[in-house]
Every structure is written in C-alpha cells, then in structure tokens.
C-alpha cells in the first residue's frame, strides 16, 4: 500500500485542491468551499468474516461502520455512503435485505445517508465495499502531525474485537454473543467529533489493523519513534475473559488484534488529562498508552513497568 501511495502521490498530490492525498485514513479534497473527505474499505468473506457466524445484518452494519470510522479519524462528519456488493446469487433475498437493513441501521445510528450502490454477481467470496464522503469543518486531522513529547491516547479497549473474532472462529460462543459485539458491530467514535473539535490534537489515526501497526504508521508518517507503555494498555474484563477462553494473551491481542475501529490520538503532554476527560465524558474509555519521541521514524518500542524495551517495529517494514 505504501508503494501504491507513493505512486499516487507522485501523480496527484501536488494540486492545491487535494488537501490530503493518498496514505491517510481518507483523502480530503476542496470543493466549492467545503473540505470533502472520501474513503473506501472492504469486507471480504473468509478474510474478514465467515458466513457461518457473521449474519448479513452485522456485515451490513460493519461495512458502514468501518468507512465512517475512517471519516471520524480525519475529523469528518459523515454525509453519504454507497455500497458495492459482490454476491453469489445463492443468498436468499431476505438475507440480502438483512444486509441492507444492517447498513441502514448503522447509517441512521451515525447520521449518514445510504444513497445507493451496486450489486454484482460473483462466483464468491461475498464482498462488500463501502465508500463514504464526509465534511471536515476544521483543519483535517492527519496521522503525520505528531510532535516530540506528545502523549499517545487510545479510545476504547483494543483487542476486544479480535477476541470476539477468535471466539466466533473457534466456535466457542454463539454468533450473537455480546462478547463478540465489538467485532460484529463496531461503533465509530463519531460522538467524539464535536467534543474534540477544539482539542489540541496533533495526529489522529483510525485503529483498524492492530494498535501496534497503526502506531507504527502514525510514527512513521510523523517522522518520530513511539514508545508504548504496555502496562498501561487498557485490558478490559471482557478482553481478559475472552482471552482465557481462546487461549490468547490480552496484551498480544491489544497490540496486534485489529478491527478495533478506535481512535489513536497524540496530544501535548499538558493537554493529555483534559483530552482524556473530554473523551470519557462521552462515555468512551480513553487511556494514555505511550509517547512520541525523537528517533528513527516508525520505530515502535514496547516499554514495560521495569523499563525493559522490546522493539515492535524497526521503522522500515511491518512486523
């Protein structure tokens, strides 16, 4: 993806109409006085979910939620979304209706319009691509603005979604078990948009591919090293319970699990408590989990209570 982004950036990123080019959570273009964010994301059968444990309602919800989370991470208020479906034709009509019902329910929940889409026949796998636009009323939040000394804050409890995935994949719980909700029906943190508009956020990224990987991306984009205080990671009881059932380590899942759709923010140290309280006031957990330091761009170091350091990413390639 980085290779692709650099090709695209070389071709397109210099135009003043492109406020944010390829490589962030969304692109942002300037149209008629508005900053319009545009993003696309996909959910693919047997990669992201299995038909045997993911209802099409949940798939519809999640397809919407993941693109709205990208918008949220840029500071964009969602406006409209379209879905592109590839279906085998074997799905009963009622299940296809359920997919759209899930998408519609998520759209209503997050104040976005589902304005259309495209349904194509495919030999499989089932696939949904969601593409969304939103409006950014501030300077867009990007992943590249972190400063030395910034605190790293994360919302929610990363790892819970991955734990839910493992519970489903291993058949340990029923598909509708509440422990799998964060996986099946992620909630983009759009309720934080307004409260955070005036917060001194230096960098923001959507935590979608695993906390450590997204910290790496933020650190690399910002030209800094990141230290993660592993003993500070928010490990909820839900996560611990799920981990004991699936035989996973909570810290591992929190760092590498993926599909959290939480926000990772960097803020000046003196603002960290205030920003955390602002987020918590919306009913969303928030935790300072690390800090940005000078050093090799993209180096991510896990630091434990005893001061032991473990390199999670060398800063030149993914782990």
């Amino acid at each position: 993806m980085e290779r692709v982004c650099s090709r695209l950036s070389a071709s397109f990123a210099k135009d003043p109409q492109i406020l944010v080019g390829p490589g962030d959570d969304t692109a942002v273009v300037f149209i008629g006085g508005s900053q319009i964010a545009l993003t696309t994301d996909s959910q693919i059968e047997d990669i992201h979910f299995r038909r045997r444990w993911m209802s099409l309602f949940d798939l519809g919800w999640k397809s919407v939620a993941i693109s709205l989370s990208d918008l949220c991470a840029m500071g964009a208020r969602p406006i409209a979304i379209v879905l592109s479906l590839a279906l085998t034709g074997q799905e009963p009509m009622e299940e296809v209706d359920q997919l759209f019902d899930g998408a519609i329910t998520a759209c209503k929940r997050f104040s976005c319009y589902l304005v259309g889409g495209d349904v194509a026949r495919s030999p499989g796998p089932v696939l949904v691509v969601s593409s969304a636009i939103g409006v950014v009323a501030i300077t867009p939040w990007t992943r590249s603005g972190a400063k030395e000394g910034d605190c790293l804050l994360v919302t929610g409890c990363p790892g819970e979604a991955a734990a839910g995935f493992l519970l489903l994949e291993k058949g340990i719980v029923a598909p509708d078990d509440p422990m799998t909700l964060r996986f099946r029906r992620p909630e983009p943190r759009l309720n934080l948009l307004d409260p955070l508009l005036s917060a001194p956020l230096h960098a923001v990224i959507d935590v979608s591919d695993g906390l450590a990987l997204d910290i790496f991306r933020l650190a690399q984009s910002s030209g800094l090293t990141a230290e993660i205080f592993v003993d500070q990671l928010p490990l909820s009881q839900t996560l611990r319970d799920a981990c004991s059932q699936v035989g996973a380590d909570p810290i591992d899942l929190a760092l590498t699990g993926g599909e959290d759709y939480e926000l990772l923010l960097t803020v000046p140290e003196e603002a960290a408590v205030r920003v955390r309280q602002t987020i918590e006031a919306q009913g969303v957990p928030a935790t300072v989990i690390g800090r940005m330091t000078t050093g090799r761009a993209g180096l991510v170091v896990a630091v434990d209570e005893g001061g032991r350091r473990r390199i999670l990413s060398g800063g030149f390639q993914h782990f």
Copy 2:
C-alpha cells in the same frame, strides 16, 4: 437492485440534502452549496473480464472509466476517485503497478484525481471497486425526466464493446487488438459535458448494461413507453466486422451487448438535430434511435422499417 433501491428510498430519500437518491447513475447530495455526485461500480474477474486476456493496465483504466461515465450521465464533472482492490497476492508487483498506472492514466485523461484506495487480500476473484465523486453545476440530469414525444439519442456505437468482449473471450484476436478497445478502454463522454450544459436534455442515462435494458430503465423511471427504430441503430463497420468474426448479429449486440459506457439522452423533437450536431462537433457519433410515447411505463418496443413491432420489455421485469 430495484428492491434494494426502494428500501433505501424509503429510509433516506426524503431529506432535502439528498437531491438524487438511490436508483439513478449516481446519488447527488447537497453539501455547503455544492451538488456532489457519488457513485460506485465494480469489475470482477470471470464476470467482467478474464485475466488471460485483460491486462491489469486496462483493468485499471476501465475501473476508473466506468465510474466517471456514471458521473457524466448525471452532468457531473469528476473530482476524485478511490479504488478498492481485492487481490490474491499472486499478482506480480509490476502488474499491480500496471493496474494503478492504468487508473492514473485514465484519471489524467479525464481530469480526475486518484486520491487513494484500499488493497485487501482475497482468495480470488480479482476485483476492483471504483468510487468517485464529482460536482454538478446544473440541475442534475436524471433518468426520470423524459417527456412524451422526446427523441432518444445515443452516443457512439453500442455493441462495439460487447463485440470486443466476444473477440477476446473466443480468442479470435490478440488482447491488444484495436477492435477490442471500446471494451478494454471505454471513454466516458465527459467532453460532452460543457457543450451539453445548456441543451434541453429531459433525461440522461449511462448505457452500461445493454442499450435495451437502459432504455427500459429510462422509460420506466419516466413513466413512459419507448420505441426503438431498429433500422436507425448505428452499426459501425467495426461492429459488423467483429460480429461476422464472432458469429453474432449486430443489431442484437447493439441492443443487448452492454459495457458501452455511452450516453442515452432524450430531447424534445425540435431540438434533436441541434443536440446531435452539438455532440458530433465534439467528434462523437450521435444518432436518433427512437422516441418516447405514452403507454405502459417501461414498455420498450422495437419498430422496424416496415412498421413491425416487437416487444423487448414488457415494462414490469427485465427480459
């Protein structure tokens, strides 16, 4: 798709911010004083193309072109596009680069920014979903505005793309044969946007799924019957030559071939010659191929020189 559209319309279409809801070539939403068109479309291996005869460069080009053609049919000037790819991981890096090179080349040709995308691993098939936004500076063209007595005009030579597909699929010509260009590298008719801005167009639709089917959609949306003058269909020498090689009937391919990415317009009879000349002045063929009449909504009748009438669509379901 109609079932889906009615579900979406029931949920979302009544908001004044939604200028055009589900069911047209694009949605159009009102954002900060601008009319923003949003569309998504897909190209799926073994449904729309085969790897053995479609280069990834052409796939990249076409993925961009088909979404820009949707924008064009609404009177929208393209602004930005994102691609969502599902790749197996077996594709050599250089071929993936070629896909983006094809997309970039099409974007530059049609003055649009490729601002990002998403690459996911999939067991296959290879799939590209393109999602584009554009700006509509006029009242959006829709498929529902045709009036009784309107002439039906079509650009280009429908059927050529399908003939190219058949030549490739049957292995009759090399993948880079010029006879297959309309299939591999469709050209959305964006050069007609400015010249047609002041033309009295009542209805416009993108001809992507076969001329007869798109005429049906336009007729049904407009609540009218359409008559097609089959002897007036533009059957180019390229189409005739290809048809003789693949053993197809040129009129059949023109009516049902699909993937033409031409524009179908309805205009008042007195304006038909002027609009046709306006289009031809841009180097694009244009032909009056029928007219709109009162009658059952969506009824499409082929009329030949001798006045014989053949029903192509009964107006309640697809053929």
